[in-house]
């Protein structure tokens, strides 16, 4: 099964959200959670990034690359970076992978490489 991360499109006004919210930020009118899920595209542009040296407890790596990417449909996402020397404006391509493992649970998210 191919894993996806979904954005949510309002059935009333067409506004696309990521992440999910209960009431549409576009029309403010959608009171009934009437959104259609849409898989996020994988290709995008790196807007900004950091290399984190002070890691949260669950991460057994020396450093962690994190960035904000604008995907080709205009939606922005925060993700992990597997890029040695990132730069702002770089074209990147994402894959859905395990991004955090806790004792009994694994979390999937978007991991970006250089396109």
């Amino acid at each position: 099964m191919k894993r996806e991360i979904y954005a949510y499109r309002c059935r009333k006004c067409g506004h696309l959200h990521y992440p999910y919210r209960m009431v549409c930020a576009g029309c403010g009118d959608n009171e009934h959670n009437e959104f259609d899920p849409e898989p996020l595209p994988r290709a995008g542009t790196l807007l900004t990034f950091t290399k984190l040296y002070a890691l949260p407890g669950d991460f057994e790596v020396p450093t962690l690359g994190l960035g904000i990417v604008e995907l080709e449909n205009g939606i922005r996402i925060t993700g992990q970076l597997h890029i040695d020397d990132p730069s702002s404006g770089m074209k990147v391509i994402g894959e859905v992978e395990i991004v955090r493992s806790e004792e009994y649970e694994e979390y999937y998210g978007m991991v970006f490489c250089e396109a």
């Binding site: 990034f49 290399k51 984190l52 040296y53 002070a54 922005r76 993700g79 998210g109």
Partner: protein, 391 residues
């Protein structure tokens, strides 16, 4: 609405404190009551973010009101992330302004050093979006790092400007006996020297160790009351003249312009409007410099300087204690420390002290209007306060 005055202030040392959280919250109330010359209050508001998670204590306000022997006064905890302090002051203001209470105590307290730094960072990271940020390992320093890079690339801010904020605020903290960090640093020492990579390592590139506030324990308190009560104290009258609050998207990536802090802009504008003053009337300000970049950007967003020019004003020395608009004479979060729930109240403590002319070696020359910006989350919930000296 009735006018509301800050009639008493108190603070603990900001450091590692080996006392229970309830005592860290209670001690500055004792000091503030003594400062105001009163013994009774109608209500107690306690600002705290991590008591339940970090210190395994819930119902903190009940513990604090009891240890102070102030029962049966009403008491409750206000949790609004790192903006809990100013939020609690706002609740106290509403209670007095509405006529419900005449005298209320507001105290903010946090005991974060009961756990190690990884757990403390993890606790603060629970502010982030659980599914779209937290799972990736996003922490507050990493959001600040990404924000800093975008700001540097757009406006020409450099690591040197960031270091100048750290040096200014740590120098100010040397004049504050309650500050956490008492260490003189220089831009050369933390950026250019051969030891810079070890004494000032990267935390979230481009942010380094000296760009981030310390993890602190501490408490601060302010007593709010009506004009009638305030006049009886015989102390300088300091009125809480304006309050503004605004929110922004939970996820930082959803903000249209990644280098804007719209909640700061909106909260400050509301606060000034309510007080009937403008940003250029401000004589002393305490801004939320959890990361050095934030002092620069907030100084622009609240209207002290044009967008993109805060670092130039910093270069010209305008934010020093003797400058045009002194920012963080207390040392700020960087120098005084950042016990998250206490910070907003500690900012108000400093402004009241400055407006009364009681700040000693770090006293700013005769300020009449003081301003605080308390920044919750990564700018998703911001509370700004404007204080005015009346006599």
């Amino acid at each position: 609405m009735r006018d509301v005055y800050a009639i008493g202030i108190g603070i603990t040392s900001f450091t590692r404190l080996e006392f229970p959280l309830s005592e860290i919250a209670a001690y500055p109330v004792m000091m503030a009551l003594k400062d105001a010359g009163i013994k009774e209050i109608d209500h107690l508001y306690v600002a705290n973010m991590g008591g339940a998670r970090v210190n395994h204590q819930t119902g903190l306000a009940s513990a604090v009101v009891d240890t102070l022997s102030l029962t049966p006064a009403g008491a409750e905890v206000i949790e609004n992330g790192p903006a809990s302090g100013a939020s609690a002051i706002k609740q106290g203001f509403l209670a007095v302004a509405s006529g419900m209470h005449d005298v209320v105590a507001v105290t903010g307290a946090e005991r974060m050093r009961e756990v190690n730094s990884i757990e403390a960072t993890e606790f603060v990271a629970t502010l982030t979006h659980p599914l779209a940020e937290y799972i990736y390992g996003v922490t507050l320093p990493s959001l600040a790092g990404m924000f800093t890079r975008a700001y540097m690339e757009k406006y020409g801010v450099t690591s040197r400007h960031l270091a100048m904020v750290a040096v200014k605020n740590q120098n100010n903290a040397l004049l504050n006996e309650f500050a956490h960090i008492h260490q003189a640093i220089t831009v050369e020492g933390i950026l250019d020297s051969p030891e810079a990579l070890t004494n000032n390592p990267f935390i979230a590139d481009p942010l380094r160790f000296f760009d981030c506030c310390p993890v602190s324990d501490g408490g601060a308190s302010v007593i709010l009351a009506t004009r009638e009560v305030a006049e009886k104290t015989g102390r300088p009258l300091v009125r809480l003249a304006g309050i503004g609050q605004a929110t922004d998207t939970h996820c930082v990536h959803e903000r249209e312009e990644p280098t804007d802090l719209l909640a700061v802009r909106r909260a400050a504008a509301q606060s000034f409007k309510m007080a009937g003053v403008g940003p250029l009337d401000v004589g002393v300000a305490e801004l939320h410099d959890a990361f050095t970049i934030l002092e620069i950007v907030e100084s622009e967003e609240v209207g002290f300087f044009k967008k993109g020019e805060g670092h130039l004003a910093l270069e010209r020395g305008e934010t020093q204690i003797g400058g045009k608009i002194p920012i963080n004479p207390s040392g700020g979060l960087k120098g005084r420390g950042h016990p998250v729930g206490a910070t907003g109240v500690a900012q108000a403590y400093e402004i009241v002290l400055q407006l009364r002319g009681e700040a000693g070696k770090r006293q700013v020359a005769d300020p009449k209007i003081g301003f605080t910006c308390n920044f919750g989350g990564f700018g998703n919930n911001v509370v700004c306060l404007t204080f005015a000296r009346e006599n």
